[in-house]
């Protein structure tokens, strides 16, 4: 019985080997393979699904370290991008500022401008009366050069070093400059005033007693003197009053430039000196 079983099984095995070999030579090799593979396939599929489940489960824990590293790298990238964003914002502001100065340069093609940043400020009642800029003699800056922004007049260079210069602003009580009102042609001098400094304003003095000065008039530099060219806007007239002692008219000027927040200015290094048509 056992020999019969052995012989039958050997025959089956031999037949499988021979038939598959012959079928393979004849090009029908798939017949028996498909039967064997088909029986085992469901079990292989199940095993594969189980394996995938386990590998996914294991990968979750194996990837924790990788995820932590990725978080760290993303955090560093975020910091870097944030710094880049700040830089981009600064560049955008500088770009806007330079564009405004370009417009100013196109308007005054005789002006030679030198951009400078404010590095230090002397405050008086919350308004800048003296600025320290990052440009000095090495950049061709000299004492007496006007300083402006796109809004208007800032002041004049009063001291120079090799790599810095100091600017006395028009709010400083030691500062005086020739100015006029283009609408009426009235001329006087703008000066810093102790009484107006706490409001960030200055005074236009020495106008004629019957001068035509009105609230809202624009005040510009007159070009008289050796410091400022004609036409740099200084501010607008806020109020007009008569000085009984000197028999002149005075006007309080609100400057165009914001002296509580200055960080970029332009130094006027060269210009054609004119007094303007509106000057008396």
């Amino acid at each position: 019985m056992k020999h019969k079983f052995f012989i039958v099984c050997v025959c089956i095995g031999l037949c499988a080997a021979l038939f598959t070999g012959v079928f393979a030579v004849m090009g029908w090799g798939d017949l028996l393979r498909q039967v064997g593979g088909g029986i085992l396939y469901p079990f292989q599929w199940t095993a594969r699904q189980i394996g995938r489940g386990f590998s996914g489960f294991g990968r979750y824990f194996a990837d924790v370290r990788g995820m932590q590293d990725e978080i760290e790298s993303l955090r560093a990238e975020n910091e870097s991008l944030r710094a880049d964003l700040i830089d981009a914002e600064l560049i955008r502001q500088e770009d806007r500022w330079l564009y405004a100065y370009l417009s100013m340069k196109e308007e005054h093609d005789d002006w030679q401008l030198c951009a400078a940043s404010v590095t230090a400020t002397v405050w008086s009642d919350g308004y800048a009366t003296e600025l320290t800029l990052n440009k000095g003699r090495s950049a061709g800056i000299q004492t007496g050069m006007p300083v402006v922004t796109t809004e208007g007049l800032v002041g004049v260079v009063c001291e120079t070093g090799l790599a810095y210069c100091k600017v006395r602003t028009i709010l400083d009580t030691d500062h005086a400059a020739g100015a006029c009102l283009p609408r009426s042609g009235e001329a006087g001098m703008i000066e810093g005033s102790f009484t107006e400094l706490h409001d960030g304003k200055l005074v236009l003095r020495y106008l004629d007693a019957e001068a035509d000065a009105q609230t809202g008039d624009v005040c510009v530099t007159s070009g008289r003197g050796t410091v400022y060219p004609y036409g740099i806007p200084a501010g607008t007239v806020e109020s007009v009053s008569a000085n009984a002692y000197t028999r002149t008219t005075e006007a309080v000027i609100v400057p165009f430039c914001d002296f509580s927040d200055l960080d970029q200015v332009m130094i006027l290094t060269a210009y054609e000196h004119t007094t303007g048509e509106g000057g008396p």
Binding site: C9, V10, A17, A47
Partner: protein
Amino acid sequence: MTNKTPASRVNKTSYAHGRISSARSRERLSLLLWGSLTLLFLLAAETVWLDDVKLFGASFGSPGLGLCFAMALGYTVDREVGGAAGLIGGFLLDGALGESMMLRPLLYFLLGWFCGVLGGRLLAHNLPSFIVFSAVGAVTDLCRAVVCVIFASGSLPPFSWVWHSQAPCVLLTVAGAVPVYGLTVWLVKKIVKT
């Protein structure tokens, strides 16, 4: 005085034989069912999970778990069970792997059969002796792989292929024989009571 067996005793003996025979049939059936499932599980594991075992970056191929199981059944139960498991397992494995010539059914049958024949005669019935049998079986399987290559390509495979690709499989099969033997012994103890 004639020695006659009482009718009641004859009945009892035949009744006992009948019960034992019936229990053995149930055991055979149960062994067939669980053995087949275990064989299919091992073949699926061999072809899916352990199809390319890598240790320290080196590929060790796949352990012959189906072969080990057939030999273990022959070793622990009897040669017929081992031979049948080898025949079926070899057929399924060749089908799953797409071999052009099915030599595994014959080879696995012979290995399962002779493991049952020689087990306990040449060596003691324990794990170390089974490992020796499994090593012989793995080397025989290596020879089958060489024959298959000769049949497919018509020339001898290079020695480097045998050494680097097939020899590690022998080691892996011997390593895999240990858990498969333990599984088979546990399964047989659970099923075979008589």
